[in-house]
Structure formats: structure tokens, C-alpha cells
Subunit: 361 residues, 2 copies
């Protein structure tokens, strides 16, 4: 077991990482303030882990709401639906919201916890690799809008993140790979050692070797916590975490959050950023190939794709939250383990990248 | 002109109070960060003051959205509508949201600013007495739910509050009185001197004497700022600001936010709290009469009312945000200028108060 602390003054909290944590009541109950618990989960995760979580909460008044699985669930309608349910209980100000599931459940439940009675206690229990290494940590919550991903939400920190790595055993391999896109991202933006370790150990990770998994999750959380501590509200360095995401979000929005998993879109986006960085002359051909090879090892897409087109991609990228007064901002690579935010990137290189990857309009 | 500072670390800001501030561009533009401004107002206020505000913003890209007037506007549907409009512009992360209007506009616009791209700049330009002395100051934002008032929202501080007291000249007298309920509240919970001043000067206030109005607004903002500085997130002393509000919110919810103005419901709620305090023996008959007389002078209701009934009142009060694990909390008076939060109030006194004021079921 390991613990990663996030130091944010009065909003500080710990991430606990280990096998079987869900079955240890005190790992959870110490962070439940009142008598009421409201668990938000989904129809895939609940049959697997809800009873285990509830068994650890047997002295509380426990309510639950299960949402459909999938990115399409993360919208204002379901936000409103959860609030209706909590108000009809009624849950009071000392209720603790527990998000049991992947990033969709965590983001939606986080925004609900931020908004219900202007903010109640939140515990994140992420059950996918993607949410364990990324979305459950750092306080970004929210929902999608048909005009863009994560457009509506709040920065709202949980009281605790509880990562039971055993939950990965029931995870679909495609979802596991999706999470690895974010792990590879940490290697690329700030942790060259992690990148090299992944090149050597990807098979152990995919085989869910317990030590390899704990290493990957812990190292990712440490990387994320360091960045979030420096820049909680994404005024600066936190933007680096968006490597591959401006491209990736455009892909997800264009395809209705349906056919691509988030990590798959991000993987392709990372490859696009690497390609564009090489056009700038910042990343050598050999390094670019290493990125592509590692993404491939993780069973992630990194090749040109069809069906969106460069013009649509550009239009959707203009909607990105990082656009400042019409100026696009992209995270690009200046080596493996070294990323920079580029304001108003060269449209020649951007267009070439979009045309190479997103095909014809 | 006067300035009241709210010291909340990195979230500190100033409230500017004076006649004609809307027509002084630098009073506004200094707090606009990017090039885009999104003004949220309503159909009553916009014809009166929108052009004046826009004239002060002529070098910016200004967008606007007008909502219907009235408390019924403050709901999740309109929250969603405003976000749709901002995304379709599209507004970027450096947009400044300006709320031009009363408490409904300010609360809704504040929650929109808190949630749009996880938070953008906000300037409050309150145009009613109620919003100038209360809702625009201190960062409480949100919308109502059919099961209760202000149930969904965020604590989100503006960058500036700009109070042009000239806007009160076009205010409906009933709305002016509604604002005075909150002013009287400050006198009752923490400012005995203000209470006595109001007893002597209520006529000048109702006649909109400029000095009297500036005194009332400034003094109210100082009272509120002192409390908010001690307790931004309502963990303790801020609850005192809810004197009369637990009763008042129940009245508003029961009547669908239509027939009663907020301040009218609060005034009756203050009288109910005073009555209940006298049953405890904490407030003498003479003091209770002074409260009733001052509310009457401000043309506010303070008498028993019909149509809800004690059982319904109690049920709705149980939904109050201050309820902790089933335990009702009420703000009661221990003298004029001295209030306390009472946990689990004596049901004998509470029932007697509800039966006296809310009539038969």
C-alpha cells in the first residue's frame, strides 16, 4: 500500500493506493463526516463492487443512485437527476458523496458534491485505471456539453481518494489501455524515467502484475499531485497535463463521445502533438517513433484516422478551454519528459498535422 | 462614494458604493480581464440600465442575455440556457460575466460564472436594495429547486461589486421594502446602533435620501463583510445571517416563489424568530414590539398569514440547508443586536410559533 499526499492548504488530502482497500472499513469511514452517505455509481461497476463498499459502511444511512455506463452519461440532465434524488431523500449538508466508478461517475459526482447545498463532502473511489491515475485526483469535476467536453463544472477537491487496485482485475482490456494513455502522458511531460520504465515493463502492466500496477498508479499520482500543488486552478503549469487533449477532445466531441474511449482519443492526440513537435524540429524522428511504439505496446491507436476532417477538427479545437481571446494553445514536446504550452501555434505545422491525421474534409 | 473591502486572501475584492458609478468606465473596465464580456440581466432592468453599462464597455466584445424577471427564473433550466448561449458564442476562459440586476440575476449569473469552463471572472452590478445589501456580497450563488430555495450552487466570489445607488430610483417601493428586511436583519443580529438609526430615519430611507441610502448600503455591506471574512463557507458564524430565513424560505417554497417577495418572507420570518425568542424568555415584549414596529415602518409584513399551515411549514423547514443529521437549527435573538444559532430548538416553542403565524393545517 502507498499514500500520496496532495498539499493544498485547507483542501489537502491523501490518495491511498493498494489491493483490497474497499474491504477495510476504516479506510473509508474515517472520511465520512455525518450519518448519511450517498453513493453514485454505474450499472457496470455497481454489481461488482457496490456490496463490498456498502459492507464497509454498515453503520451509516446509505443511499445510492446508479447511472448508465459511458461518456454520454456525463451531462447536465444527469447532474440534475442526481440532485433531484438527493433532495428527495433529503440529504443534508453533512452528507458524504462517494463516487464509485470511472471518470464519468467521478466527474459527475464531483460536480454534484460541489453544487449540492453549495458543497458537501466527497470521497472518490475510482475503479478504472484512467480515473485512478488522472480524473479522480486534482479536483477537476464537471459534465460535457454537446458543444464540448468538460465545459461545465467546478474545481472541487475530495476529502480522500481511495484506489483499490484490485478493481482493475474486472476492467475491460480496452479500458485498461485507455488509462495507460494518461500514464504515458506523465512520462512524456515530466517523467523520462517512467517513460523508459514503461518501455521495459508494459507487458507486466497489461498482465496486471500487482507490483507493476501499484508502481504505475503511484508514480502517476505523484506526477499529478506535484503539478496540481503548483497550480490548482490551471492558471499555468497544470495546462501541461493537457498534452494530447486538445486534439483528443475534438475527436471525442466530433464523434459524440461514443466510438472512441477518452484514452484512445488522447493517445492519438499525443501522437499528433509528437508529430507536430517534430515538424517544429523539437522532437527527433527516433523519439517520435519511441512514442508511437510505446502507445502501440499499450494497444492504443496512434495512426491517422478517418471521418472528421481537418476543418472540423480545427473548429472544435477553437472551443477548447485553453483558447484565450481567440488564440489556440497547444501542449507540445521538446523531448521525452519535457513539454511546453505553445500560444498561437504555427498554423502551417498545425494544418499539416491535421491533414496527415484527420484525412480529407 | 465609499469602498468596503472583503478580505479573503486570494479571493479578496472591493465593493464600491456611490451614485452614478455605472457611467464611470474605469470603475468597471479595471476588473475586466480579457476582451469578452457576457452581461446577464433581465427584462425589467435591461431597458433601464443596459445601455449605460454597455457605453462604459465600448472597447470590448459584449454579449448579453436577458432573462424573465422573478424568482421563478432562478432554476437549473435557465442556468443551462445561459451556458448554452455562452458556449455558442463561444466565450473563452478569459470572459468576464457581469450580473446586472437583482438577486435572481446575481445568484444565477454567479453560479454560471462559477461553472462555465470551471470558473470565469465575475462582476456583480446589483440594482435592487436587496441585492446591494445582501446577495451580491459574499459569494453565495445558486439556483432554486422545487424542493427548496438555493439548493444548488457554489461559493464563488466576484472580482468586484459595483453598487450604483441611483438604480434604486427606479425600484418598485415593494422591492425597496423587501431589501430593508435584510438591513433590519443586520441591525438585529450584530448592529444595535444601525437598528436604532433605522428607527429614527426610516422615512428618509424610504424617500431615497441619497445620504440615508448610502449609509444603509455601506453599513449593511460592512456588517456582511465582517461575517463573511470570518466564515466564508458558512461553517459557523455566517449562519447568523440566516435570521428569519429558515421560516422565510419555507414560506417562499410553499407558495412557489410567486406571491411573496424574498424580503417579505424574511420579514415575517424575522418576526417569527423574535416571537419564538420571546417564548424562550430571551427577548422582552417591548423589544419584540420594536421589531414589529420597525418592520411595519419599512412597509413589511410581520403578522400571521394564511394558506400554508404549521405541518407544511415544519416539513419544508426540515429541508433547510442548516439541518444537520435531522437536527433543525434556527437563528434566534438574545436581545436587539445579538443573535445565536440554536441547535435542535424546543419543539414546544417552535410549534407554538408555527401555529400562531401559519394558522391551521
Amino acid at each position: 500500500m502507498s499514500t500520496v499526499s496532495i498539499n493544498l492548504g485547507s483542501r489537502s488530502y491523501d490518495i491511498r493506493i493498494g489491493r483490497g482497500l474497499l474491504s477495510i472499513p476504516e479506510e473509508i469511514t474515517r472520511w465520512v463526516k455525518g450519518k448519511q452517505v450517498f453513493i453514485i455509481s454505474n450499472e457496470i461497476v455497481a454489481p461488482l463492487y457496490l456490496d463490498r463498499l456498502k459492507a464497509s459502511l454498515d453503520s451509516y444511512e446509505v443511499h445510492e443512485l446508479l447511472l448508465p455506463d459511458g461518456e454520454q452519461t456525463k451531462n447536465l440532465e444527469n447532474f440534475s437527476l442526481v440532485l433531484d434524488k438527493m433532495l428527495s431523500v433529503p440529504c443534508n449538508r453533512s452528507v458524504t458523496v462517494i463516487a464509485l466508478g470511472g471518470g464519468v461517475v467521478g466527474d459527475l459526482a464531483g460536480f454534484v458534491a460541489a453544487s449540492y447545498l453549495r458543497g458537501v463532502n466527497l470521497i472518490q473511489v475510482p475503479t478504472t485505471l484512467l480515473s485512478q491515475v488522472d480524473s479522480s485526483v486534482g479536483g477537476k469535476t464537471g459534465v460535457n456539453h454537446e458543444l464540448g467536453k468538460n465545459m461545465i463544472g467546478a474545481f472541487y477537491q475530495p476529502k480522500r481518494v481511495l484506489i483499490d487496485t484490485e478493481t482493475l482485475c474486472t476492467l475491460d482490456p480496452r479500458q485498461l489501455s485507455s488509462g495507460l494513455a494518461e500514464v504515458i502522458k506523465y512520462g512524456l511531460i515530466a517523467d523520462h524515467e517512467l517513460f523508459c520504465w514503461l518501455e521495459l515493463n508494459m507487458e507486466s502492466v497489461l498482465a496486471l502484475d500487482p507490483l507493476a500496477i501499484e508502481h504505475v498508479v503511484t508514480r502517476s499520482c505523484i506526477n499529478k499531485s506535484k503539478i496540481v500543488e503548483q497550480d490548482e486552478l490551471e492558471g499555468g503549469v497544470r495546462a501541461l497535463l493537457n498534452l494530447g487533449h486538445t486534439f483528443g477532445h475534438a475527436i471525442e466531441t466530433a464523434t459524440g463521445y461514443a466510438s472512441w474511449l477518452h484514452g484512445e482519443a488522447v493517445a492519438t492526440g499525443i501522437m499528433m502533438a509528437a508529430h507536430m513537435s517534430s515538424l517544429y524540429g523539437w522532437l527527433g524522428k527516433k523519439e517520435c517513433d519511441r512514442v508511437e511504439r510505446l502507445l502501440g505496446k499499450a494497444a492504443l491507436p496512434a495512426s491517422p484516422f478517418q471521418g472528421i476532417g481537418p476543418a472540423k477538427m480545427l473548429e472544435l479545437m477553437q472551443l477548447d478551454k485553453k483558447v484565450q481571446d481567440g488564440q489556440l494553445r497547444l501542449v507540445l514536446l521538446k523531448g521525452l519528459g519535457n513539454a511546453s504550452v505553445i500560444e498561437g501555434p504555427d498554423s502551417k505545422y498545425l494544418n499539416a498535422t491535421l491533414e496527415y491525421f484527420a484525412g480529407k474534409d
